[in-house]
Symmetry: C2
Subunit: 123 residues, 2 copies
DNA sequence: CCGGATCCAGAGGGATACTG
DNA sequence: CAGTATCCCTCTGGATCCGG
């Protein structure tokens, strides 16, 4: 799953990164963690600029990793629903901190910027 | 910093990912979070298969993001020390959960594998 | 409706050599 | 020692078309 090798260290971190890496996985997971299972097309709507290819690909990976469950209803037209597995729920444990920290970080960066502006003014 | 755009959602998560993305950043951070400041060459030793290019590049990015502090001693031969900023310490808040979860995840996958083996045996 | 198959651009990352 | 500079290659992700 990782491109090459153990990098000599910290398999734990690598493993966690593998789950989150992929431009869309965090967003997909956030939506699925919302609770109810979601149809493919719903997810497409919720994530405007994702392509079908990417959505399927990332969902498939998450499925392999036991994070999402995929249920196909044998009807026509096709109906496929995705939901978080019980195990996938444990991801909340890391996604929430990330989300919180990320928002705080955005603020932090803004403040840093306005400080720079002030310094320029003083000179 | 992100390749293209807001992806329509969740700037917080994106921001956090930006910090951690890069094959080596989590590992570098883990070492720096250990406490003492470290010289460039020390980091190189601690992370065996990283190239100089990568190490400098990632450290520079982390510096821009206010996560690490870079101190250059004007001596010859050059001496440069890196350390976590006070702000960077807050990353522990997300790195620790990731690390813990990742290790648990590795176990989880192993168990899943041995289950498969058993099923094969039964048939 | 869901998603497989193909093709393609570009960013990220590696190897190596050179420098103050 | 601590980097730049250069070249190259792989892999991700995007666009598009096709199929059950």
């Amino acid at each position: 799953m990782s491109k090459r090798e153990p990098a000599g260290c910290q398999p734990g971190l690598e493993a966690a990164m593998d789950i989150l890496v992929g431009k869309w996985k965090p967003i997909i997971l956030l939506h699925l963690l919302q609770g109810e299972r979601k149809r493919f097309s719903e997810l497409q709507r919720l994530i405007p600029n994702i392509t079908q290819k990417m959505l399927t690909a990332q969902l498939r990976e998450l499925e392999e990793q036991d994070i999402v469950k995929r249920v196909v209803y044998p009807v026509v037209p096709p109906r496929v629903e995705y939901s978080i597995t019980e195990y996938g729920l444990t991801l909340d444990y890391i996604l929430k901190p990330m989300h919180d920290w990320g928002r705080a970080h955005l603020k932090h960066m803004q403040e840093k910027k306005s400080q720079l502006v002030e310094e320029v003014r003083v000179e």
